[in-house]
């Protein structure tokens, strides 16, 4: 399929390289189809480009490359929803903010994107109850612990 991207221009990708979001990227509920794009000069940063909206392109990165101690457990119901049979089928990416008006770079460790590499389905998974910060700042790591998500409400069946 061919689609437009403000960042990359017109792009042609195989249909099976699209990623289908089965749970929304919060704030972008109407966008389900994305493709993961790679720009050599900023690797290993990647871009999650919406297939429907040329203007929607989110910088993402594998969090372990920047925060090696990042250790999370994807909740069982999310594993089921994504039909993840094996851990190695999962790819975890965190959304990065490159601030426009400051030199701030931050990463959302509280709501990573989990992709099933086999089925190419994905979800933004909110790690309720974890102490992972929504705004992990690289410039000032001590201020990174923005614990908005600290005591999220749990639900049980």
């Amino acid at each position: 399929m061919i689609f437009d991207s403000v960042r990359f221009g017109e792009i042609e990708v195989d249909d099976d390289s699209c990623i289908e979001f089965i749970g929304p990227i919060l704030g972008f509920e109407h966008h389900q189809k994305f493709v993961l794009l790679d720009e050599p000069e900023v690797r290993p940063l990647q871009w999650l480009q919406s297939a429907d909206d040329p203007t929607l392109c989110l910088p993402v990165i594998e969090p372990y490359l920047l925060v090696p101690e990042y250790d999370i457990e994807v909740p069982d119901h999310e594993v089921e929803a994504l039909e993840l049979a094996r851990a190695e089928d999962a790819c975890i990416l965190c959304i990065v903010v490159l601030a426009k008006d400051s030199d701030e770079v931050r990463m959302n460790l509280c709501a990573p994107i989990v992709i099933n590499l086999c089925s190419r389905t994905a979800k933004q998974v909110v790690l309720s109850g974890s102490e992972q910060p929504i705004q992990f700042r690289f410039r000032d790591e001590t201020a990174a612990m923005d614990m908005v998500g600290k005591e999220a409400v749990g639900a049980s069946a």
């Binding site: 990359f8 203007t55 929803a81 490159l98 409400v153």
Partner: protein
Amino acid sequence: MLVLKRRRGESIIINDNIEITFLETDHRQARLGITAPREVPVHRKEVYLAIQRENLAAANSSDVGLDLPRDLLGQARSRRDARAGEQSRSCSSTHVRVHDRSTLRSAETVIKDA
């Protein structure tokens, strides 16, 4: 907004499968118990909104910002290279060849070496 009065221990049921129980109050706070199917996301609204805001901020990321994390990207690259020997599989992404943003680009799917 539908407003209901509930006494301690009483609940409301939403859609046959979600139960919200009023547990107790302390002068300015109420404790609620929520029983819902696991696939129903339950979030504190401020957390939900904070994530939404952060996603919107990411979508507004600027290329100006791209000059800044070069050192971070350098670190990330060396970690990825260090990991290259391990069997872990990285995310397959579509690699876009960069020539000129105004022209059509061909993209190919690659499994990254990391």
